[in-house]
């Protein structure tokens, strides 16, 4: 298990794989939006929490097809499925590796990028907290989608279609936390819901994902 995690992290960091680049994508979404929307800082400040969360979500989404597809292509997934590791464990490790190389760096860099969008003061802390709490759910849900589509030639975009509606609750609670924090409202409920979502996703989805992969390998 440990070896698998290390391998996935090495591969992600090396070879210009996922690391760095999903950050870069996030950066660029955040940069592009003002070009599209126009430079008025009040509008930007108003939409900042939402855009930051949507940007993080898209950056996360884009790297999902890496989770299983590469291993499927080069035959590793066949070998892992016949190896002593339980497939559920493999799923958890892969989702974890995805989060470590995508979600976590996104959460860390988001406050810096928020400056570009004039996010008001109180938002910064909670932007970080909400992303740190919510991106694990994104990774796990994404791994589920990746498992469903792993056998398919060019499952990439189908994956997005399947996963995005599943991302809605996470996005709503996550962005709501930041917006409420900016408006100095109570954030207890969305915070609890977000944490609950993450826990539930990690508790239940590995089984569904492993089942989907087994079916796809047939």
């Amino acid at each position: 298990m440990w070896a698998l995690l290390i391998r996935d992290l090495t591969l992600a960091v090396r070879a210009g794989g996922g690391f760095g680049l999903s950050l870069a994508f996030f950066l660029i979404v955040v940069v592009l939006v003002p070009f599209g929307v126009g430079p008025q800082s009040d509008v930007l400040a108003r939409i900042a929490p939402g855009i930051l969360w949507v940007g993080a979500l898209l950056a996360c989404l884009l790297s999902l097809d890496r989770v299983f597809h590469l291993d499927f292509e080069d035959g590793s997934l066949d070998l892992l499925a016949t190896s002593p590791l339980p497939l559920e464990g493999v799923v958890v490790i892969k989702a974890l590796a995805h989060w470590l190389t995508t979600g976590l760096p996104l959460a860390l860099i988001a406050p810096a990028l928020a400056v570009l969008l004039n996010l008001p003061g109180p938002g910064y802390l909670w932007l970080f907290v909400s992303l740190a709490l919510g991106t694990p759910a994104l990774s796990m849900i994404g791994a589920f989608g990746a498992g469903l589509t792993v056998g398919l030639k060019r499952g990439g975009l189908l994956l997005s279609l399947l996963v995005l509606p599943l991302y809605v609750p996470t996005l709503i609670f996550g962005a709501e936390i930041v917006r409420r924090a900016v408006d100095a409202q109570a954030i207890g409920t969305p915070l609890a819901m977000l944490a609950g979502l993450t826990l539930a996703a990690w508790a239940c989805l590995p089984f569904a994902t492993a089942a989907a992969i087994r079916i796809n390998l047939r």
């Binding site: 589920f144 469903l148 589509t149 056998g151 398919l152 499952g155 189908l158 279609l161 399947l162 995005l164 509606p165 599943l166 809605v168 609750p169 709503i172 609670f173 709501e176 409920t189 969305p190 819901m193 979502l197 989805l205 569904a208 089942a211 989907a212 079916i215 796809n216 047939r218």
Partner: protein, 242 residues
Amino acid sequence: MSIWEYANPARFMRFSRTVLPWVSAAAALLILVGLIWGFFFTPDDFRQGSTVKIIYLHVPSATMAINIWVMMLVTSMIWVVRRHHVSVLAAKAAAPIGATMTLIALATGAIWGQPMWGTYWEWDPRLTAFLILFLFYLGYMALWAAIEDPDVAADLTSILCLVGSVFAVISRYAINFWNQGLHQGASLSLDQEENVSDVFWQPLVLSLVGFGFLFLTLVLLRTRTEIRARRLAALKQRERVS
């Protein structure tokens, strides 16, 4: 005799052939009467004017849109547990009907929204939930379309349907939390005060039941087609090899 016998394709074909004429006749009759009654012979609402006539399409389609997803969930689970092909093919057959119903509910709602709320689209929770439901339908159908092996497709779409249902419920809650909306509450629940009055209610019920029968007709017909298509594919494959 148990209900599972109808899960045998041949038996299902025989059964559906006998009931189809009745079901489709009932659908045509009820919808025609309901819509004509509603459109021509009901008064205008004092607040909403003649737009209230949209309700005879809007509410039945909205109700069906949700119920069809529930039906798909149930039949998918039957497939997962008991491996009856007819069951999962019925789910596959129902998806486009559900998507169309959702689309009708969205379209009529949007058209209704313009005079009532002054805008075609508003991010009201119920409308939003329907949009998400539509996306689920699209994803479900896309997954079916993308997989060649029919049994693999059946398994994977069933998993998606189960997980998707759970997330649909969570989404509904999340959306409510995100925005408290403009939309009417449920008015068919009898104990509520804002119930629509009887004049509107009677044709509405007719049309509702009619949509139910329409769904039944279509899903039987489409399931028959799916079964035939499976047999066709199997025969063709065998023909090619031998």
